[in-house]
């Protein structure tokens, strides 16, 4: 099976504290550490496990800049066979659809039976996989937590509300977005990454892909982020005062607003 996995380099949510910069319009990126998006990592592990069982190869691909190459290498250290970096100044500022458009041009070139992405990334939108599928006219399933490969089709389980699992049968080729917990990704240490340090990763720009710059990047984006801000939440907890009854009353009001009741 030829599998393409779309990955993204994101700020690590576990090892960063996010603060606004002094201008107040972006994150303070000085001290941020980045790594591969956690959901994408599960997707790569799943791809590698599938290929271990039925043969084939795993290609990881990302749209980014030079620094994004490090996540491709890390996934290759994990076991992906090939990596492709799609990079061009014209791609900057792309919205989800822009990214999907860029990925689509490359995805069409290979004969991929299966295209995977993580269910969501740092922006929490979970959009690129579904868009890519629609552009390619492939069937799509999101939040996949189980994959069973058959002959020309696959059985896929989706995580839905209440902890239940929705089972679907998909014809290949198809696109799936992968939910965390589908497997236990293997560990990749510094040593593994050093081993793939000199493997060639082709870089392709807008011309190589034959993309019209106007359809991607800032120009082509229909959804744009204007700024970052931190909603005013005050310092620490809001301490509720008063008699127990009064406190309970206030608490219930707040719980209702937050969906706790």
């Amino acid at each position: 099976m030829e599998i393409l996995v779309c990955v993204k380099r994101v700020p690590d949510t576990a090892e960063n504290e996010f603060e606004l910069n002094s201008a107040g319009n972006d994150l303070d990126r000085d001290d941020l550490v980045y790594s591969v998006n956690e959901w994408d990592n599960y997707a790569v592990e799943e791809a590698i496990q599938i290929v271990d069982k039925v043969g084939g190869s795993v290609t990881v691909i990302t749209v980014g800049d030079d620094e994004s190459e490090e996540v491709l290498r890390r996934e290759m250290a994990m076991g992906a066979n090939n990596g492709i970096l799609l990079s061009d100044d014209a791609f900057e500022g792309s919205d989800g659809k822009g990214i999907a458009t860029i990925l689509k041009t490359e995805a069409q070139k290979g004969n991929y039976d299966l295209i995977l992405s993580g269910a969501q990334a740092d922006e929490g939108a979970g959009q690129v996989g579904g868009m890519l599928a629609a552009m390619l006219d492939y069937p799509y399933a999101s939040l996949v937590n189980k994959i069973e490969v058959g002959d020309g089709k696959i059985t896929v389980g989706r995580e839905i509300e209440g902890g239940n699992q929705e089972m679907n049968e998909m014809q290949l080729p198809c696109v799936l977005s992968i939910q965390t917990g589908i497997n236990e990704p293997r560990y990749v240490g510094i040593r593994g990454i050093r081993k793939v340090a000199s493997v060639d990763i082709p870089v392709k720009g807008a011309d190589d892909l034959g993309i019209d710059a106007g359809s991607v990047g800032k120009k082509g984006a229909k959804t744009k982020r204007v700024d970052y801000f931190v909603p005013d939440m005050g310092e620490g907890a809001e301490m509720l005062e008063g008699s127990t009854d009064e406190i309970i009353e206030k608490l219930i009001e707040k719980l209702k607003a937050k969906g706790g009741l």
Binding site: A14, E15, E17, S35, P185, Y187, G189, I190, R191
Partner: protein, 687 residues
Amino acid sequence: MTSIIGPASFKFFGIFPAAILSFVLPVIGIGLFAYIMVRRIAPLVRANPDNRFDHIGLRVKNLIFVWLGQMRQPRYMLAGVLHICIFAGFLILSIRSTSLVIIGLSDGFVLPGFGGFLGDIYNFIKDYAATIVLIACIIAAVRRGIFKPGRYAVPEKYGKDHTSEAVFVLGIISTLMISESLFEASELAYEFQHTGQEHFLAPLSLVWIFRGIFASAPQNVLQGLHIFTYFVHDLTFFFFLCFLPLGKHFHVITSVFNVFFMRVQKGKIKPVMHGVSDDKLDDLESFGVKKLEDFTWKHMLDFYSCADCGRCSDHCPANAAGRPLSPRFITIKARDLIFKNYPLSGEIYKSNLLVEDIYTEDEIWSCTTCGACEEECPLGIEYIDKMVDLRRGMVDEGMVPQSLQKSLKALEKRGNPYGKMEKKRADWTKDKEFKASWQIKDLAKDKADTLYFVDSITSYDDDMQDIARRTSIILKKAGIDFGILGKKEKDSGNEVLRFGEEMLYQDLKDQNIETITQSGVKQIVTADPHAYNALKNDYANLPPVKHISQVVAQKIGTGELDLKPCQNPEKVYVYHDPCYLGRHNGIYEDPRQALDAIDGLTRVELEKSRDRSFCCGGGGLMLFYEPEEETRMGVLRVNMAAEAGATVIVTACPFCLVNIQDAIKVAGKEGEMEALDFTKLIEQHLF
């Protein structure tokens, strides 16, 4: 007929010379033994290299004290004394055994130099030796067979019980003693009957007793007995020789080598591959032990040398906590695998991955590297390096539990297992109250003689940051000019190394060494025994490293630090030896001296103290991974303290503090027991 006919001259049924048997038996015996030994050496030849010819002086010292002096045996008194008897007996009787073999070919043979007076003294000693060995064997057999002490038990998952093998060998040894004595006694009784001459024999020795019993036996009985017991001894002796390499009694042969080659430097982990320097590590195909042959030859020798005594597992805290680890069976399973893959005849089998074959992942991750096992083993068998090597293999294959992956990733990106930002590493200095009185030098900007290496847990854990502050105050009051590395400090990597992530450890180590060297400090002090161990034993080219307890003890000695009388005389204090301060680095007395310098402080000792201290279960990354266990090690330790009558457990290690604090709550002993860090106790008592 004048004297008894010895086996050299005897003829069976008057025709068949017994000497032929005396010749054939040894030839077959030695030949078979040689063949078995060659087969047994085969895996060692295929094993990885090991550097065991360094520190010859220390090795000879070990040979004298641990092997010959049997100094670890009395740690279990009854079994120890029994073994010392049997061991000493073996050594003494080796001379007799050798001469006996030749006696079968040449009557009355005596080894050169053992004629005359020396020979008589020897005979006297050896007769008692044989007697004592027999008595020891009988007591041992009763103990093993009837009383069945707990540490020999074989849990179901590890297979059948080993008692029959043990008792069988005791039977063999007893047979050797009895047959040798009877052989001699029969001759002496015959002599006496014949010539009336009575040799002086060691009174109450076995041979003395036998001679007494058979004093008036008919001469043909004595003759028959003489020949019979000779060949019983000869056969048993060569049988035993060939039996030794087949099981746990291989240690009889390998022990002298195993002890000579045993660990001479504590607290240090072996390199990934002996002979491959750090900068060449990238060239290695594979890291760690994945298959049997990846072990070094000394580790293989360890597997052969195990006497199945169970002392290691008896002291293993993981075992006591009900984790799936029993060090004894790490060794026995590996030994059995060697026996299976390298059979005495037939083809050698290809090894599978150990962690799927004989070990489980949890078993290997269960070890806290406390070193209690290695401290007990009378044969110098090592475990820590093996565990680390197995972990290196698992890490290389990506088999790391998810919760551990997170902390390893955090260490890689942020230099600490919590994933917190580097620039917050020195935030403990910014505590309002503390900052008002004490300013701490940052060695990136200032110079100082001494580096206070704080390490990750003390820097980032809200509760543990207190240790850093108090250590600073102690150092200041002791007049020591020091600074910290602040945000440039990376985790010391003690745990990272022991968890098998070699390259990450190298990375952290290189960064730390560079920063420390640049700072120009002349000595390093730390309050974290894990950091102490790494900086002192695993790193190289650093200024001397001290633990805060050593500094305190020294400064009390010179009078530079003065301690107030005990502020809580009603409390009963007990000092818990941290593994990385005590067992791995031999620092037992300094903290105790410091505590005892506080007038009126009531201090008790735990039964398991000093080199028998019981691990709290700490060990850095253990905070992020939990193997299956029945109880927590910390809880077991807290209960021990309660039994000793203590109300305060004093620890000199932040991991011990975390674990014991937690354990007190889990054990439901809040209010009855408290955990107190050494630095807090001392700082509270400073003027």
